[in-house]
């Protein structure tokens, strides 16, 4: 039987997988970027679950936050 704890992990992991697939299949670039950022946030939760607090902070700030900001800035340039 799957315990409750493991169920959360399963949910987080498959959530990250699904958002990753959606991100790569999205037709619109902006949508893809938003999905990428949300995958970053899901992964941040996974880091917390795995006890990696330092990485969770770094992922939220740099991995999802900064990369997302750079991506959105790029998209604005491309669409101008």
């Amino acid at each position: 039987m799957i315990s409750g704890e493991l169920f959360i992990d399963l949910l987080l992991g498959s959530g990250a997988l699904v958002t990753a697939i959606l991100c790569l299949t999205a037709k619109d670039l902006f949508q893809a970027i938003l999905l990428f950022i949300s995958m970053g946030l899901l992964v941040t939760l996974a880091w917390v679950r795995l006890g990696a607090w330092d990485i969770a902070i770094a992922e939220a700030a740099i991995g999802a936050g900064l990369t997302g900001a750079l991506l959105i800035a790029t998209r604005r340039q491309l669409n101008q």
């Binding site: 607090w53 330092d54 969770a56 902070i57 770094a58 700030a61 740099i62 936050g65 900064l66 900001a69 750079l70 800035a73 790029t74 604005r76 340039q77 491309l78 669409n79």
Partner: protein, 253 residues
């Protein structure tokens, strides 16, 4: 237009990749991943010698947070090279022009459109962010956090400042170039300086380790923040290349 660019030039493979090729790529990738996953599952995990090593040497590292100890003491050489990576990226995206070297780093100007909300927000938020990033840096010695997180936060403040429109940064100014290299320079300086006392590069004397790590981290935070703001500037404001062309085009139209 956008599709053209991505298809014809920048893509490794054409967009209209035939379905059969996609299928083959997909099958290869899936097979490789299955093999990896299977061998990972079958592997009986052994003891990890580094877990005890990190814990037993933590006292001599000068910090209490084990991740910081690994990053800035046990494996500080990796972090030194990582700061060099940041410098490379900064140089790669930097809008170089020889004329700008004499202009000051921060230019204050009247914004084109004022956002009162953002300004009021900034007046309160900016000091708070700077204090918080200092706090993150300080606690990095004990709790999760450290130079990279603090640098990212500080960069956030810089970017907000930029968005408010009052200020613009000129990264060719001597001050800016100093900010970009100070992290690497300080790291090298400390790493070489400790040779005098311990005889080994990057080996801090135990008594001073905490202080030296903090010095390196402060310098690294400044560089990280500067590089991140520069990255944002390079993408956000005007692209580096063909400004003359663009002006011409506007004249024509």
């Amino acid at each position: 237009m956008f599709n053209n660019m991505t298809l014809s030039d920048s893509a490794q493979q054409e967009a209209d990749l035939p379905g059969s090729v996609l299928l083959i790529i997909g099958m290869v990738v899936v097979a490789a991943c299955l093999f990896l996953a299977m061998s990972l599952v079958q592997f009986q995990s052994t003891d990890q010698p580094l877990v005890t090593l990190v814990v037993s040497n933590l006292e001599q590292s000068g910090v209490e947070n084990p991740v910081t100890a690994v990053l800035l003491n046990f494996r500080s050489y990796d972090t030194l090279l990582e700061v060099a990576v940041l410098l490379i990226v900064a140089l790669a995206v930097m809008p170089f022009s020889l004329q700008d070297t004499r202009l000051p780093f921060i230019k204050v100007s009247e914004p084109v459109e004022r956002s009162l909300v953002l300004e009021a927000f900034l007046r309160w938020l900016l000091p708070a962010i700077i204090v918080t990033s200092g706090y993150l840096l300080w606690t990095g010695a004990v709790l999760p956090g450290g130079a990279f997180q603090a640098g990212a936060l500080l960069a956030g403040a810089g970017i907000l400042l930029l968005l408010a429109g009052h200020h613009s940064f000129n990264f060719n100014a001597p001050t800016a170039r100093l900010l970009l290299v100070v992290g690497l320079a300080m790291f090298l300086l400390v790493g070489a300086g400790v040779v005098l006392s311990s005889g080994i590069a990057l080996a801090y004397p135990v008594a001073m380790a905490g202080m030296l790590i903090l010095v390196i981290e402060v310098a690294a935070t400044i560089t990280i923040a500067a590089v991140l703001v520069l990255l944002f500037c390079a993408l956000q404001i005007e692209p580096l290349g063909p400004q003359p062309n663009r002006v011409e085009k506007e004249k024509h139209s």
